[in-house]
Every structure is written in C-alpha cells, then in structure tokens.
C-alpha cells in the first residue's frame, strides 16, 4: 500500500534519513521502532509531505507522492497523527474533530464519524465544548487519535501515541488500534515502547541513525536477541 524506496532526507546539512526502504501492506499494523533521534518521526513527516525528500521514492497505492503537498496527500487517505498531539488549543473538542474531517465533504459522514469517536472515547463526548488546551494529557492524546480518525484514513500513521500516558489510557489506545485494524484500517505505528508495539504489530522495522538495519515479522523480532538487548530491556 505504502512503499518507501531508498528515501533520503536532509535537515539543512544534517542527513536525517540515509536511504530508507520499507513497505506497509494493506490491512496490517506495521511498526517503526528505534531510539530518540533515529529518524522515526522524520520518516512519517516525509510520507505526509511536511518535509520533502531529496532522493528516493515514496508511493501510495501505486502513485508517487513525494513531491505532493500535504493537503493532497491527506486527500489520498494518509492521515498522520503527529508526535506531541498538536491539537488546536483554542478550539473546542468538537471543533478539533470537525477540523479533522476537513477533507470530508459529506456532512452526514462527518456526523457519523464524530459519533464513532465519541463512542470510542466517551470522555471526549463529555468534554465536547471544552477547549482542547484545557484537557488532561490522556484526554489530549485521545482527542489527537480521535481527530485523526475523522477523515476516514486508509493509512493511519501514529507517532508515539503512548508517550507520557498512564498505563490504563495507553491500553485503551492500543486496543483502539487493534479494533481499527479489524475494521480495515492500515496502521503505521512509530513507537519508543517497542515491547507494546511489537505485541500488536504484524511486521516491524528497526531504524538506527537514518537507516534500517533490521526488519521482520513482529513475532520474530520479539525473539531476536539483538532486539531484546537493545529495545526490549534485555
């Protein structure tokens, strides 16, 4: 569904991605795991067009998208839920969700999607008129995930959805991802919590300083000694 071929990207003079090749198959959860600064977020930013690559190719359902603008890429069905939530702080919970559905023209569909998010995270329904900036950290994360579901993503890319969450909310969000997969959404997950990510993933890539030294089915990586040592805490 999504293919990156030898993707290279620079921030100024710093080469952040030094040739990334990976593929996300339709209907799977695929993780990209690695330490801080390895290039995880950058990979997602390259896919969603926030940063442009200088070499290589990114294609989505057969179409090259690496020279496209972010709004075009979003319209194709790639939704990127960014690191650090990036909500609209002075819009209400409801308006944040509405903004998430910007590319959906059908008003009925927007209403349905809002209802679906409220069912998924009932607390958001209680807080619908509250400004997003006044929510707690966990609620903000739920809103960020909920907002990214509003545009009916074909491919949902999540950047560190577990960051700074209490275990119970963490589990809730990961359960949501499994539910989404069942309903046919393809998920590209970037995580520091490799253990949790591997347990819900079908396939995973390890990224180190802008390169991918290791990849494989998640169940195999869980048993891999190198992975255990470096990412799963021994």
């Amino acid at each position: 569904m999504l293919k990156l071929t030898d993707v290279k990207l620079k921030y100024g003079y710093v080469e952040a991605l030094k040739g990334i090749t990976l593929e996300i198959k339709e209907g799977t959860i695929t993780s990209l795991l690695g330490a801080n600064g390895a290039g995880k977020s950058t990979t997602l930013r390259a896919v969603s067009g926030l940063n442009h690559i200088y070499d290589g190719e990114i294609s989505f359902m057969g179409e090259a998208i690496h020279n496209r603008s972010t709004d075009y890429i979003v319209k194709q069905g790639i939704i990127h839920c960014p690191e650090g939530r990036k909500l609209f702080p002075d819009l209400s919970v409801y308006e944040n969700l509405l903004a998430g559905a910007y590319v959906i023209q059908d008003k009925e569909r927007v209403k349905e999607n809002i209802q679906r998010v409220y069912e998924l995270f009932p607390i958001l329904s209680d807080r619908r008129k509250q400004m997003a900036g006044t929510l707690s950290g966990g609620e903000q994360q739920m809103l960020a995930v909920g907002r990214s579901l509003m545009a009916d993503p074909k491919l949902l890319m999540l950047d560190e959805p577990s960051l700074g969450l209490a275990p119970i909310i963490f589990e809730q969000i990961f359960d949501t991802l499994i539910e989404l997969k069942k309903s046919g959404t393809t998920i590209f997950l970037v995580e520091q919590n490799a253990n949790a990510a591997l347990h819900i993933s079908d396939y995973a890539y390890i990224i180190e300083v802008g390169k991918i030294p290791l990849e494989g089915p998640a169940s195999e990586l869980l048993k891999n000694d190198k992975v255990k040592q470096k990412y799963l805490g021994g």
Binding site: S48, L50, S69, T70, D71, V74, K75, I79, H80, C81, P82, K86, L87, F88, P89, D90, L91, E95, L98, A99, G100, Y102, V103, M131, G133, T134, L135, S136, G137, R147, A151
Partner: protein, 291 residues
C-alpha cells in the same frame, strides 16, 4: 456625552482598521506595516476609476476593493510565503519595503496633489440635541458606524460557524497540524491577506472624504488601528473592536480636556504604557493552559 458619541464615530473607523490588522497577524503571524498604505493604494484606484474613467462611485469602490483583495493575496503568495521559514523580522522588513514602494509608486503615478473622493451617501446630517449642545452627525459617519458593525458581526460569525472559518482558526493556532488535517494552509493565508487588505481599503475609501486621497492618508489610521489592536490584545477580534472604540473615545476626551494636538500622540503613549504593564491587552487572555 458629546465626546462619547464623537469618539465612537472615530473609533469605529479605528476598529475597522484594527480588525484587518488582527486578522492578518492572527492567521499568518505577520505584523503588516504596509497595511494602511495598501488601503491607500486601493483608494487611489477607486479615485482613478471614478474621476478619470467615469465609473459610477459604487463600481469604482468595488474595483478598489477587488484590487485590494488581489494585492493582499499576491503579497502573501510572492513576497511572504517564500520567506516564511526565515524569520519574523525578515517578514517585517518585507512589509516595510512594501510601505515605501507603495508610497513612492503612488507619488509617481498620482503626484503630490491631494485628490478627493465624495461621500458614499450625502443628505441632511443627523442633529442630536444634547440639551446644551447640538451634535451634528453626517450620514457618512453613520454609514461608517453601521458598516463597521455589520462587517464585525459578519466576520465573527463567518469565522465561528463556517468551514472556511474553522480552517482559518485552525491554521492560526497550529500551522503544521492544520496541514495534517488536509487544510491548504497557503490558501488560508491568502484568504486572510485578501480579506484583511480589503478592510484597509474600505477604511481608506470611507475616510477619504475627510482625509483626502493622498500617499500618506492612512498614516494616522495605521497607528490608531495598531493601537486599537494592541489595546485589544492583538489576536482578539472582539478586542480589536473594543480597542478601536475605546481609543476613539479617549482621543476625544484628550482633545477636549488637554489639547487637540495631543490626540495622535495619545495613541502611541497608550501603546507604550500597555506593552509595559499589560502586554496581553484589555481583552487578551491571561489564563494559562495545561500542556
């Protein structure tokens, strides 16, 4: 009472100028120094259409407003968007450059002579009996007041309840997140610049019967609009309106009690004092958010 009414009359024009400044700043983060001059140029276009080409006044005004929309959008697209990633001061310098260029070009095309635009509506002025004094309010002043009110409420509801409005507010709060929602942020910025500049043009055209059309006609209004915006906290639309009306009234009282010469200086004194003691403005937010 007399000062209050006259102050509100002047203030509504300040509010109109401030509204456009705030919309541009809030959406794109640029303080537009050339704002008043862009309106001045549009007023000249209106004047030329009216006086040279014989357009009916209303059509001439519409042409001027349309010119302002295009001028604002082109400025954003070709002068500011390419340097968005550089720095805030780079964008300020660009708008300063625009100010000089517009002033020079206006002088070059239309020369030094002051030109005149007629009132939009004329007729018997309203006379208000305040007991001791009679207050004369021209129809043009009344029109400015009503037009400002309509535009203010229209803008407010448009931003609050339409999809474009939501896109504008989202883009102004978080550019990158807005992009990730599929909002064409560049288009939103163009919209803000086009609309904002049209407000400056409208203010210039409405003020023209009094200030005359002149390369520096908007100089005072730019300062007064800026003061009104700062009074209101710079990013608040209601703040810009309240700030504008308040400044109008303050100026009237200063003119009456101290000296008319001080009227404009008051605006600058207010900016300085406010920035020192309450930079968030009278309606600015002081509440803290949780992160």
């Amino acid at each position: 009472m007399q000062q209050l009414i006259l102050g509100l009359r002047d203030g509504s024009l300040f509010a109109l100028v401030a509204l456009g400044l705030v919309i541009i700043h809030r959406t794109t983060g640029v303080l537009n120094f050339a704002y008043g001059h862009m309106g001045m140029f549009a007023a000249y276009i209106t004047f030329s259409c009216y006086a040279f080409f014989g357009f009916p006044l209303l059509l001439a005004i519409l042409t001027g407003l349309l010119f302002a929309v295009v001028l604002g959008m082109l400025t954003e697209k070709f002068l500011l968007r390419p340097i968005r990633n550089l720095s805030h001061s780079a964008m300020l310098i660009i708008t300063l450059g625009m100010l000089m260029t517009l002033e020079g070009t206006a002088l070059w095309i239309w020369k030094q002579d002051t030109r005149q635009l007629p009132n939009l509506i004329s007729g018997k002025p309203l006379i208000v009996n305040l007991g001791e004094v009679f207050l004369v309010i021209t129809r043009q002043d009344l029109l400015i007041f009503i037009l400002t009110a309509v535009i203010v409420f229209g803008t407010f509801f448009y931003l609050k309840y339409t999809k474009v409005g939501l896109a504008v507010r989202a883009s102004s709060q978080h550019e990158e997140a807005a992009k990730l929602m599929g909002i064409p942020v560049g288009g939103v910025y163009g919209f803000a610049w086009g609309f904002g500049t049209a407000l400056s043009a409208l203010a210039a055209i409405l003020a023209a019967p009094k200030t005359y059309v002149h390369p520096n006609m908007m100089l005072n209004l730019q300062i007064q609009g800026l003061t009104a915006a700062v009074l209101g906290g710079f990013d608040s639309l209601p703040g810009a309106i309240v700030g504008g009306l308040l400044l109008g009234v303050i100026e009237q009282y200063v003119g009456e009690w101290i000296s008319a010469d001080l009227k404009l200086a008051v605006a600058l004194i207010i900016i300085i004092i406010l920035l020192l003691i309450k930079p968030s403005g009278i309606l600015g937010k002081s509440s803290k958010r949780r992160v």
